[in-house]
């Protein structure tokens, strides 16, 4: 029994190490996100996963960027100020008719660099469906030798299990 608890603990902590390591390497708080809505179709569909990478380079138009709420949309306007080198950014989902101002805070017209969690640099289709069905494995009846990757979707979405539906 003790052996099983220790093994379980080792798997969970290994998954956590990999996840935190990814955060450091990519510079993004959320290096892997699942596409939840169809607002970037046909490029990204619901259930695809995106890899985000953040660097200090200023954001430019065309980049596909993710924010704290997992909205990954394309930058369509950039205004970079002379003195401060801060950037004002406007985003829009490829498949939406309107830009994202209706999603920003009331009265907010622009995003800034610090709102951006990362740029989408790569993606895999369909892999994210596991999390959309909210499969959060808590207890296992089979012997504890599951592979780490099976835990990863749980950890990615432990704070998003409340589910963001709707047309974001």
């Amino acid at each position: 029994m003790l052996v099983q608890i220790v093994s379980l603990g080792m798997i969970v902590t290994s998954a956590l190490i990999i996840w935190k390591g990814l955060i450091v390497v990519t510079g993004s708080e959320s290096p892997v996100v699942v596409v939840l809505t169809g607002s970037m179709e046909p490029g990204f569909k619901r259930g695809d996963i995106l890899f985000l990478h953040m660097s200090k380079d200023p954001i430019r138009t065309g980049e596909i960027v993710g924010r704290e709420i997992p909205i990954v949309h394309r930058v369509i306007k950039v205004h970079e100020h002379q003195e401060s080198a801060e950037v004002d950014i406007l985003t829009k989902g490829d498949n939406n008719l309107e830009d994202d101002r209706f999603l920003y805070a009331h009265g907010q017209l622009w995003l800034q660099q610090h709102h951006i969690m990362g740029r989408a640099v790569g993606f895999l289709q369909y892999v994210g469906w596991v999390t959309i069905f909210k499969v959060c494995l808590f207890f296992l009846n089979t012997p504890i030798d599951l592979e780490i990757k099976q835990w990863l979707p749980f950890i990615v979405h432990s704070d998003r299990c409340t589910g963001l539906t709707g047309h974001i």
Partner: protein, 167 residues
């Protein structure tokens, strides 16, 4: 040691690993694609040039966009997202990039095109610095793969200028 659960676990893990390796190889093959896109944009007409409701300059123009982006497509390409951005500098802003038009090219057959359109998104400045402004029109494209790494690049076209007066 050979229960159904163990075997299913083993098969699934192996399948996912092979699939991941194939996706990686597919994405890697895109590095060997040699790209030779061509594009040109003509401003046919500046329709109007006014201050909009918040006092910022706004201009509307009709564009003629022609391009041949078929060399960007490989077997691992799902679509190419292309857009035209006006880029210019003002006293307050070191760089302004305003997307005027975008489109999705779903396949190689659609990659050679000629489009006649007014700007899809409003060309609004932060302020009123656009009178007589020189600007570049840059065609950007994002190659969105069926799997793996996305590539992006651009062609910068210089020499455009806005009217000196509102009209």
């Amino acid at each position: 040691m050979h229960s159904f659960g163990h075997r299913a676990n083993g098969v699934a893990t192996f399948a996912v690993t092979i699939l991941a390796a194939m996706c990686f190889a597919a994405s890697f093959s895109d590095h060997f694609n040699s790209l030779s896109p061509v594009a040109s944009v003509k401003i046919l007409n500046t329709n109007w040039f006014q201050k909009e409701s918040h006092g910022n300059d706004e201009v509307s123009m009709t564009l003629n966009i022609s391009a041949d982006l078929s060399s960007l497509f490989s077997w691992n390409t799902k679509q190419v997202f292309v857009f035209i951005a006006a880029e210019y500098e003002t006293p307050q802003n070191a760089l302004n990039q305003v997307s005027l038009w975008d489109g999705i090219i779903p396949s190689k057959e659609h990659a050679k095109f000629l489009i006649h359109t007014t700007n899809k998104y409003r060309f609004i400045d932060q302020g009123s610095n656009l009178k007589g402004k020189d600007f570049n029109l840059t065609m950007h494209w994002h190659i969105m793969p069926k799997t793996g790494k996305m590539f992006a690049d651009k062609i910068v076209m210089t020499g455009y200028r806005l009217p000196e007066q509102y009209r």
